[in-house]
């Protein structure tokens, strides 16, 4: 298993959670088996890993989480958390848990809630106060700290729930549907936080049925169905398509484009090549709109956003804000990194990992499996700036630009789509925008008509031959 994720610098071989033969059978009043929620499950979670539990509703992922926390007891099997039983009290000092719903005391306000849980961790009064302030600031509830939790919207309850899960600066964070009920900004912030925690060597278990959330942040996933693990591996292994590559670059001059195409055509059939403009995803676009609105907005009576990650969670005093993680592996490179970033300006400096390039070049024969790049080559890439798409074997943001058909669990790796079509208007936009100072116009979403590649080439040639 290869670890080329930017966040996995802190990842080690230390096993934090070991699950072997885990089975949970719910029984009725008379002790007769009622439902087999988890069936003979094995997995390990290592330190620094962001581990995703995926599965549809009722597949057993929440039951697994509850067994990891000692809230349910296994019918069979063995669980070790930090080398102890899940019911070992001292071990719980290293765990933070956000349940699937807000199970907080409705009569306590934000400050009292965090103070209560801080007390359970035996934090000193000064430490509790400091962390309370930072956490409330981080989750955007500092302005409403005296409102009782019972008056909160679901999203605000999730925020205070997340804060209580982090009050002890846990080594293991277990998040059950953490983005449920959150607005897009909140979702983004939670995902940023997960990345920040992972960077510090914290282990995160994320249980969710929201595939995008898991894909954005997880190193390793298990997919449940019917109480059994149907797939288990790193996202890299599970999702990388080794039969295609993607090169992303700032807009090129027409001559350069022509040269590139000609070079590629020497090795690849024309109908196998696709050219388009990357699009930023809706999340990035939404965040940008909100950022602009916020610059002129009045106060909000709800939670605020764009706040800094609590210093004690960052592990340093100069980390980026909550909303701009130091390494945003799930972010679209062209999209703004944070609410304060420029929304669409491409990074001027592009660095290419030579080793990765070599590996890609060597494996032009689709019949030869792609060797995973050695882990030691990862630091060669400036990960905060790299605009080369396959950072860790796949595009940074896949869900809106992945050209391959989605895989089912039983599919073999799919062959590339044989029909490659070039959008005429896209092509024109590509050519027109060779001047880097002119922003790239996003293609209209409704422009679906396609052209034959040969015709497109002719059109391209005629455009190129036009006098300027």
């Amino acid at each position: 298993m290869t670890d080329t994720h930017p966040q996995t610098a802190a990842k080690s071989s230390e096993v934090i959670i070991a699950v072997r033969g885990l089975t949970k059978v719910f029984k009725d009043f008379w002790g007769r088996p009622k439902a087999r929620a988890v069936d003979n499950v094995d997995f390990e979670v290592r330190r620094g890993e962001v581990f995703g539990l995926l599965g549809p509703n009722g597949s057993g992922k929440s039951t697994t989480v509850k067994m990891l926390l000692g809230l349910l007891y296994p019918t069979r099997g063995h669980i070790e958390v930090f080398g102890h039983s899940p019911r070992h009290v001292a071990t719980k000092a290293r765990i933070g848990y956000l349940p699937e719903e807000s199970y907080l005391y409705r009569f306590l306000d934000c400050h009292e809630t965090l103070d209560f849980f801080g007390n359970l961790f035996d934090l000193s009064p000064s430490e509790r106060k400091s962390r309370n302030e930072q956490l409330l600031e981080m989750v955007g509830l500092s302005q409403i700290r005296t409102r009782v939790v019972g008056e909160f919207s679901k999203g605000m309850q999730r925020r205070i729930g997340l804060a209580q899960a982090l009050i002890n600066d846990p080594d293991l964070v277990i998040l059950d549907e953490p983005t449920s009920g959150l607005d897009p900004i909140g979702c983004r912030e939670v995902k940023d936080l997960i990345v920040t925690l992972a960077k510090r060597g914290k282990t995160v278990i994320l249980s969710s049925h929201l595939l995008a959330d898991v894909e954005d942040v997880c190193d390793h996933v298990v997919i449940y169905y019917g109480g059994k693990i149907q797939a288990d591996g790193s996202l890299n292994d599970l999702l990388t398509n080794h039969d295609a590559i993607r090169i992303t670059s700032p807009p090129l001059r027409a001559e350069t484009m022509q040269k590139v195409l000609e070079t590629i055509r020497q090795d690849v059939a024309a109908d196998k090549v696709e050219i388009d403009n990357p699009r930023q995803n809706l999340e990035s676009y939404f965040l940008d709109v909100v950022r602009k609105a916020r610059e002129n907005a009045a106060e909000t009576s709800g939670a605020t956003s764009g706040n800094r990650v609590a210093a004690y969670l960052r592990g340093d005093s100069d980390a980026p804000s909550w909303g701009r993680p130091p390494v945003c592996r799930f972010q679209e490179p062209l999209a703004p990194r944070s609410l304060t970033d420029s929304p669409s300006a491409p990074e001027p400096i592009q660095k290419v990992d030579q080793a990765k390039l070599q590996s890609l070049v060597r494996n032009t024969d689709p019949s030869v499996p792609v060797a995973p790049p050695p882990a030691t080559t990862a630091p060669a890439v400036d990960l905060t700036k790299a605009n080369v798409a396959p950072m860790w074997g796949r595009p940074p943001v896949c869900r809106y630009q992945e050209p391959l058909a989605p895989r089912s669990l039983t599919d073999s790796p799919p062959a590339p789509d044989p029909v490659q079509k070039l959008d005429q208007s896209k092509l024109q936009a590509l050519v027109r925008n060779t001047d880097p100072s002119v922003p790239v116009a996003p293609p209209p979403a409704s422009t679906a008509p396609t052209v034959n590649l040969n015709k497109a080439n002719e059109k391209l040639a005629s455009l190129l031959n036009k006098p300027k």
Binding site: K66, G70, L71, T91, K92, E101, Y105, L108, L120, D122
Partner: protein, 476 residues
């Protein structure tokens, strides 16, 4: 300990935020302060205190008893059902600490409410006492607004007396060639010995020797050492409470009898005689002159029956001597302490039930236990009769002997357990001015809280620790 106190603090906050504390405070203020202002008394000191203390302390016990069960069931069962316990129990706190924290929270809330309502009752008593006639106020100060220790005559060893007479009688009958029915003979002799010891025939006298007790002797010794903190027993008038029955079946109700009493150390010059006209069948109190006991705290009272009918002094309630041991205020506080012990036990019962039952079922079950405890009179009468379904009128034998042989031992065990709690009667003691000693309070704490409450707590904690907290939820 910090974690336990955190849970305790949470229980307090819940009680205040859900306004339970204020509602209970208002209800207590209404029932133990406002209502008693309207109560009519008979104008006597004893009547006033009997009515006021019995009513108010019973109201406090009843109201807080039910609220304690309700609160203790709710505070744990609701937390489990509404899943807050899932978030709490994954923190580094043991389940036993959660349980104990909740128990301390409920008990400390009760302590605050008992303290507040007790202060109200005390103020009410002082206020109502001022309305009494001066003579009654004197009685109140001497007999009721005090903490009086009591002592009873040392009872003769009846078994030894009966055994000695029985042996003698059996020998006599055996010598005469008659084989006696020993059980029947023992019964007859027991009644005879009792009659000889408890009755005073016309023209005869009966001697009562009362050991005033170790505490009395301690006070005597302290006084001799001139300790300032000693309650002075020298120079103090003692009170005698008597109750006797007449052997005259035709005696009119309220008929009085001439009683002659001699008190003092026998064969010494320190002897005094008293004449009292007293009615039968009711408790009567009169004063004894001070310092009529010997150096070992022994008081000797001789009763001479100058009437033409025999008078009977019961073995338990025939005669009792009182002396002032402490102040009413401290006695009142110790009495409230025993009530708090009862409430602590109820908190244990409620929490134990909610450790494995849902809130409504736990509340129902624990209130049922309370009601069964209050109905212990049924158990004791069944045990006294020796049968549950009664006797066959013709054969005078139990109707269901097999059933009785199984159930009666269970009843006896249950009654023994209930009596561990009910043996303490602070309401009765306070309303009669009897002293509740620190030792009695300590014993109540040991029996009610540590032993009985501990059994429920151990069961509750064991059940709570084994419970799958994520298996019971109502709001998800």
């Amino acid at each position: 300990m910090n974690r336990i106190l955190t849970i305790t603090g949470l229980t307090w906050k819940a009680a205040f935020r859900y306004r339970l504390f204020w509602v209970l405070a208002v209800l207590l203020a209404t029932s133990v302060v406002a209502f008693p202002l309207l109560l009519k008394d008979d104008g006597t000191a004893r009547g006033l205190t009997q009515i006021l203390l019995t009513y108010t302390l019973s109201a406090i016990t009843g109201l807080l008893g039910f609220s304690t069960l309700w609160l203790s069931c709710g505070t744990l069962a609701r937390d489990i059902e509404e899943c807050q316990m899932q978030v709490v129990s994954v923190k580094p706190i043991g389940r036993w600490q959660i349980w104990l924290g909740k128990w301390i929270g409920v008990v400390s809330l009760n302590a605050a409410l008992v303290g507040l309502s007790g202060a109200g009752v005390y103020a009410l008593l002082q206020f109502r006492a001022d309305t009494l006639p001066p003579a009654q106020q004197t009685i109140l100060k001497k007999e009721i607004f005090v903490a009086r220790a009591s002592a009873k005559p040392t009872p003769p060893n009846m078994e030894l007396l009966v055994a000695a007479v029985l042996q003698k009688r059996i020998k006599q009958l055996s010598g005469a060639g008659t084989l006696p029915n020993e059980a029947l003979l023992r019964k007859q002799i027991t009644q005879m010995v009792l009659a000889e010891n408890l009755s005073v025939k016309p023209g005869s006298f009966k001697r009562f020797v009362v050991e005033l007790g170790a505490n009395f002797v301690k006070s005597l010794n302290r006084e001799s050492l001139n300790r300032d903190n000693a309650v002075r027993v020298r120079g103090q008038t003692l009170q005698v409470r008597v109750k006797f029955r007449s052997s005259d079946p035709l005696a009119a109700e309220g008929a009085v009898y001439q009683t002659l009493w001699q008190v003092g150390v026998p064969e010494s010059g320190n002897i005094k005689r008293l004449e009292k006209l007293l009615p039968a069948e009711s408790f009567q109190e009169f004063e004894l002159p001070p310092d009529m006991f010997d150096s070992e705290g022994r008081l000797t009272l001789d009763f001479y029956n100058a009437n033409d009918v025999a008078l009977w002094f019961g073995q338990d309630d025939g005669l009792e001597v009182f002396y002032t041991e402490s102040t009413f205020g401290m006695n009142f506080i110790r009495g409230l302490g025993i009530i708090l012990c009862w409430l602590a036990l109820l908190a244990s019962i409620g929490l134990a039930a909610s450790s494995w039952l849902s809130f409504p079922v736990a509340a129902f079950a624990s209130i049922t236990v309370l009601v069964m405890g209050l109905c212990s009179g049924i158990l004791s009468s069944a045990i006294e009769q020796g049968t549950i379904f009664g006797l066959d009128h013709e054969t005078n034998q139990p109707v269901q002997p097999a059933f009785d042989s199984v159930i009666l031992p269970i009843f006896k065990s249950a009654l023994a357990v209930i009596n561990l709690v009910k043996d303490f009667s602070p309401i009765d003691s306070l309303s009669t001015g009897r002293s509740i000693t620190w030792g009695e309070l300590g014993l109540a704490f040991a029996q009610i809280v540590l032993l009985m409450g501990g059994i429920f707590a151990a069961a509750g904690i064991a059940l709570f620790s084994r419970r799958e907290l994520a298996a019971a939820q109502v709001n998800s």
